[in-house]
């Protein structure tokens, strides 16, 4: 177990946490605990929203440093929980570094929930929020359909590695378009639906709840720079949603025969 391996593992654990939506304080804290558990003295780490820097004083008194960059954060709570459990196990002792590496690799490739379940969840979530925001059960039904339509698009865009701003712009425009279409059809069929509740439910999977929460938590932990980055992200996502929805609303208002939005 060389010092270099300890540094390597600590950074990798931090990277997995950060890339799956851990907040700065947790990442730093976990890395320090792990390094300490493996007997590393003089371990220093600095974490930003999109990068990790750590150094460790080697046996011969020489410092070694490493850097990791984390470009994309995709929230994956199962992986955060798993890294948390792994670091607790390491702290209790009895997890050799090799085994820890293997467990970390397994966490990194841990699958999320299957696509069908996420599509279902997106629909149910949209329907639920449409209702909570004052919609009727019929509005919730329309939002359910909008939610079902949204998730496959989001998965597709995420797989393509689309820029987050563009992803939210396209997704919100799409959800608004589907909502207008569904509401239009339902109204033609004689079932009165209000477009606002349907769209509000539909965009709930897009709203920057996590960026906002993590940004706030970073600032609460005095990581002002990272908090600012997340805050800007939350604001930009909000603007992207607004632009996407606004574009479709503006367009449908201009088309004669479409219900007054």
């Amino acid at each position: 177990m060389s010092q270099q391996d300890i540094l390597e593992f600590t950074l990798e654990a931090g990277r997995v946490l950060l890339a799956n939506g851990g907040e700065i304080f947790r990442v730093q804290d976990t890395m320090q605990r792990i390094a300490h558990s493996y007997g590393a003295e003089n371990f220093h780490v600095y974490v930003l929203t999109n990068g990790l820097f750590a150094s460790l004083k080697g046996d011969e008194g020489a410092f070694s440093g490493e850097v990791r960059s984390v470009n994309v954060t995709n929230i994956h709570l199962k992986r955060i929980v798993a890294v948390n459990e792994l670091s607790r196990a390491i702290e209790r002792g009895g997890v050799p570094l090799e085994e820890a590496f293997a467990r970390l690799r397994a966490i990194e490739t841990m699958p999320g929930w299957p696509a069908w379940l996420r599509v279902l969840a997106c629909g149910v979530g949209a329907a639920g929020f449409a209702y909570l925001y004052g919609g009727t059960p019929l509005d919730a039904l329309a939002a359910l359909l909008a939610g079902f339509a949204l998730e496959p698009l989001r998965m597709f865009l995420a797989r393509r590695g689309t820029n987050r701003f563009i992803e939210n712009l396209l997704s919100s425009a799409f959800v608004a378009a589907v909502s207008v279409a569904v509401v239009q059809l339902m109204n033609l069929a004689g079932a009165a639906c209000s477009i606002d509740k349907v769209i509000i439910g539909g965009i709930i999977a897009l709203v920057p709840g996590i960026a906002l929460t993590n940004g706030v938590r970073d600032i609460a932990g005095c990581d002002y720079l990272s908090g600012t980055i997340r805050g800007i992200e939350a604001l930009l996502i909000g603007v992207a949603i607004a632009l996407g929805v606004g574009f479709v609303l503006g367009l449908s208002a201009a088309v004669p025969g479409v219900i007054a939005v």
Binding site: H76, L77, L117, D196, I204, A205, T213, V216, V245
Partner: protein
């Protein structure tokens, strides 16, 4: 009123569990996530019914939700993020974003501005609520873990 309240609770529970699934929350914490979001929303809803402003109600909701998240984090031995992430969604001003844009598109700039400012205020209130609770010292929650040393068994 009581029936309406029950329905609000059930729907918010289901909606927050859906969000937890969307962000790959572990199955054994689904119910706890749903509960957190439900409590946050219930506090918000009751406050609004009681005539409190939307912004203050959001602050109250965020306080309740963050407090419960911290308690659950200790009891379930699980990062607080897991509960906070889903639970926050009912309070996040998605509706505010929508109505701001809507007024803007319709050329009602005064209303767009008012709604935009309200949306930012709600976001600020949620942020404040979370910060206040997260700033509470760890020791306050420490005693909760005394009888839960083992914690839940990890699932595959």
């Amino acid at each position: 009123m009581i029936w309406q309240f029950m329905i609000q609770c059930v729907v918010s529970f289901a909606a927050v569990v859906a969000v937890a699934i969307l962000f790959h929350g572990p199955k054994r914490e689904w119910a706890a996530c749903g509960l957190t979001g439900m409590v946050g929303w219930a506090v918000y809803w009751l406050a609004v019914q009681g005539g409190v402003s939307v912004v203050t109600a959001s602050l109250l909701g965020a306080l309740a939700l963050a407090l419960l998240s911290r308690v659950l984090a200790v009891v379930r031995r699980c990062p607080v993020t897991v509960f906070l992430t889903g639970g926050i969604f009912p309070l996040v001003p998605g509706a505010g974003i929508y109505y701001t844009v809507y007024a803007f598109i319709m050329g009602d700039n005064a209303r767009a501005l008012a709604k935009g400012v309200e949306t930012l205020k709600i976001a600020g209130a949620i942020a404040l609520g979370i910060v206040l609770v997260l700033a509470l010292p760890k020791q306050m929650f420490g005693m909760l873990s005394a009888h839960g040393q083992q914690g839940p068994k990890p699932e595959s």
